[in-house]
């Protein structure tokens, strides 16, 4: 009797193991984006209308970036995500590693419809976004104009918040040290340049509160924990609209980048995913995004359709772009690991 129970129990385990290994049922198209008010907007203008149009549900999930996540999913085979919105670095790394499907540019109406930086064989641009200084104009009337002001704790007392990591930190440190935006990445390519950036960071180190997720810097500003922060421009405008704040974006010295839609290799719904990207790239659909979140649009025709009241807040506005810097993806895919290691060591000192 006892042994029979044992056999039954073992049978249960084996059955459970087989159950886990059995192929899952057909999954609905799964689109992954960056959450927050941004994804709320995408849901209204992309996910829901696309589901209505095709008559099939669209699942939307959220992630916080990280190439390891995508690589692990694609490598394991049969990934549970289809379309993912990725940053330039993840796009470049993944395209070299072959973890994305190729984009069918015919279906999107040709590469000419997009701004050049939004065209890649593995990804189609979704937004142009920017990292910039944010401050509360109700607390600081005469706000900072540059990264040098951001570093100046005599003139603007209070703590500062920066993203924890070398990216969007070393560049700003060099700008604060007087390096013109166009020379930043050349300078960072040398050991002296990196040393100089870390020396400049040393000056501000006691006053820095580090943030990791995009909502944190705004929370620090709102609670008065810090006087200025680097933040994603869409979130700054977003919090002004939803919570009636008067946060300001300092465009000179900001760094902009393109986020892209990509399809994971071997994804079950890759064809539907391609259709979805085409839908999200139609000018009349994309043009509705800035009313939810202030990100620039990579489809040229869509950018022209944006109402004037929203235009002033977009990173793609010529005035805003004038003294801004484009992220150098080649620099970061080469140096991210070594510089992150050094950055972590610097933090720990």
């Amino acid at each position: 009797m006892r042994s029979r129970i044992g056999i039954l129990a073992m049978g249960g385990v084996v059955a459970a193991a087989i159950g886990m290994a059995a192929p899952a049922q057909a999954r609905d198209l799964t689109v992954v984006s960056w959450g927050g008010n941004y994804q709320d907007g995408q849901r209204e203008i992309y996910f829901k209308p696309y589901a209505e149009k095709t008559g099939k549900p669209v699942l939307d999930e959220t992630w916080d970036g990280g190439y390891g996540v995508l690589q692990a999913k694609a490598k394991a085979g049969n990934p549970n995500w289809d379309v993912v919105q990725v940053e330039v670095e993840e796009l470049a790394l993944g395209c070299a590693d072959g973890i994305y499907e190729k984009i069918d540019w015919e279906k999107l109406g040709g590469e000419d419809k997009f701004i050049p930086s939004a065209v890649n064989e593995c990804g189609a641009g979704a937004i142009v976004w920017s990292t910039a200084i944010a401050y509360d104009s109700e607390k600081i009337a005469e706000g900072p104009q540059s990264w040098a002001d951001f570093w100046d704790v005599q003139k603007f007392p209070g703590k500062r918040s920066l993203r924890k990591g070398p990216k969007y930190t070393l560049e700003f440190a060099l700008m604060a040290d007087g390096v013109p935006p166009a020379e930043i990445y050349d300078m960072l390519g040398t050991d002296e340049g990196v040393d100089r950036a870390f020396r400049k960071l040393d000056e501000l180190k006691p006053n820095i509160v580090w943030w990791e997720s995009g909502a944190q810097p705004l929370q620090f500003l709102a609670s008065g924990e810090v006087a200025m922060a680097s933040a994603y421009n869409g979130r700054i405008t977003g919090i002004n609209r939803t919570e009636n704040r008067k946060f300001k974006v300092v465009w000179p010295g900001s760094i902009y980048a393109v986020d892209s839609w990509a399809i994971l290799k071997g994804a079950e719904n890759k064809d539907a995913g391609m259709d979805f990207i085409a839908f999200a790239s139609q000018p009349e659909n994309q043009a509705r995004l800035p009313q939810y979140v202030a990100y620039g649009l990579p489809v040229k025709a869509a950018a022209e359709m944006v109402p004037a009241e929203y235009k002033a807040d977009l990173p793609t506005e010529p005035d805003n772009m004038k003294d801004a810097l484009s992220i150098d993806v080649d620099f970061w895919i080469d140096n991210a690991e070594a510089l992150t290691q050094r950055f972590n060591a610097w933090l720990a000192q």
Partner: protein
């Protein structure tokens, strides 16, 4: 052995089989593969078999031989698995930054010229730098100690000797020691609060006991993230604690409670307190209630009765609670990230960066292995100490 006893044994074996299987699949196997990941380095030898065959002939110091360069070009021509190539490039870039752009340029050049010798230095002048060739040659060994060395802030220099990395380049040992230090402080704080609290709980009855136990258990049922966020609200510069103290006129300017070690220890102590209180409480319940009156009847004042009777008996609970708290504490990641400052980050955040951020599983595995070894060493010391005490009594 009689047939019935054999049957009985088989039955018992079958009964524990599910547990053994569970442990093997969900515990032993992942642990073993993590350890293997930290020393295995198969990518280079898979991707560059011809290079691997001739890499041994080169002393890693002089100008790399033509045969090595040609073998490498031939390997690049032969490779057709893009994911394998991607892994190899990541492996090379991790050893020597700059490899990603170098390799994409080189691969393009190799595709354009599918036959014959290729002057790599003409493709990119970085190929004239011996460090890049050393990284290629080193990557062809299927086993490596570089991850384990790097996890301890060491590397092999050009001649293959083990050398310490410069202090500004790597701080894993410092972060590991800090992790153990924070774990120890939190454990001590939990013990100092948990022991009196558990004694209080054990000494009352009825609804009071239920209420006191509930106060410990309720936080356990809330998500860790919510509890951490709650501490954030309490501790911040214009948070509840500072505002109250300021309005009472006790302090003139806000106390720095957040983004420092103090905040991390406060929040982690709160989160981990149940793991200390519950074991002590259950041990206290098993202590006969008449021991304290007995000590009193023998003339011991209450403090002596406590020190000589109750405390030694409840130490078993304190020790198991401390182990639980310490082991959990050293794996913490979210609380230091949200409440702590730059100098309070623990080793898990470094592991997370390598696993999630840069897909460097070797480094993540090596750091995990080091943490495991450190923990096991401490556990052994604990085992020795508690065995000695049991023997001496």
């Amino acid at each position: 052995m009689s047939e019935t006893s054999l049957k009985g044994r088989l039955g018992a074996l079958a009964l524990v089989a599910p547990l053994v299987l569970f442990l093997a699949i969900f515990f032993a196997w992942p642990l073993a593969s993590m350890l293997k990941e930290s020393v295995s380095d198969p990518v280079g030898s898979h991707a560059f078999p011809l290079t691997a065959a001739v890499a041994g002939d080169w002393d890693r110091q002089s100008e790399p031989p033509e045969a090595l360069k040609q073998a490498f070009v031939d390997d690049l021509r032969a490779i057709d698995d893009q994911q394998l190539l991607g892994d190899a490039v990541r492996r090379l870039n991790s050893a020597q930054n700059g490899f990603r752009t170098l390799m994409s340029r080189t691969i393009r050049a190799v595709e354009e010229q599918p036959e014959g010798p290729l002057d790599l230095v003409a493709v990119d002048k970085r190929w004239a730098d011996v460090r890049f060739w050393r990284a290629v040659a080193d990557s062809t060994n299927p086993y490596t100690d570089r991850y384990l060395l790097a996890a301890l802030d060491y590397e092999r220099d050009a001649s293959g000797r083990i050398a310490a990395l410069p202090a500004e380049a790597s701080a894993n040992t410092a972060i590991l020691l800090r992790t153990l230090g924070i774990g120890a402080v939190v454990t001590l704080a939990c013990a100092l609060i948990g022991l009196p609290y558990a004694m209080l709980v054990a000494s009352v009855d009825g609804w009071k006991r239920q209420a006191l136990l509930g106060a410990v258990l309720l936080p356990l049922w809330t998500s860790l993230l919510v509890r951490t966020a709650a501490w954030f609200i309490l501790l911040q510069e214009q948070g509840l604690i500072n505002d109250t103290l300021m309005s009472l006129g006790l302090i003139g300017s806000p106390l720095p409670l957040i983004f420092n070690r103090l905040g991390v220890v406060i929040a982690m102590t709160h989160v981990l307190l149940p793991f200390m209180v519950l074991p002590i409480y259950s041990v206290l319940l098993s202590i006969p209630r008449n021991l304290m009156p007995a000590a009193a009847s023998l003339g011991a004042p209450p403090w002596r009765a406590f020190l000589r009777v109750l405390l030694p008996l409840s130490l078993r609970g304190v020790v198991s609670g401390s182990l639980l708290v310490f082991m959990t504490a050293i794996g913490y990641y979210i609380t230091p990230a949200l409440i702590g400052g730059a100098q309070d980050q623990m080793i898990s955040s470094v592991i997370a960066f390598y696993a999630i951020g840069s897909a460097n599983w070797g480094m993540a595995g090596a750091l995990g292995a080091i943490l495991l070894v450190a923990t096991l060493a401490l556990y052994t010391v604990y085992g020795r100490l508690s065995a000695d005490r049991a023997g001496g009594r």
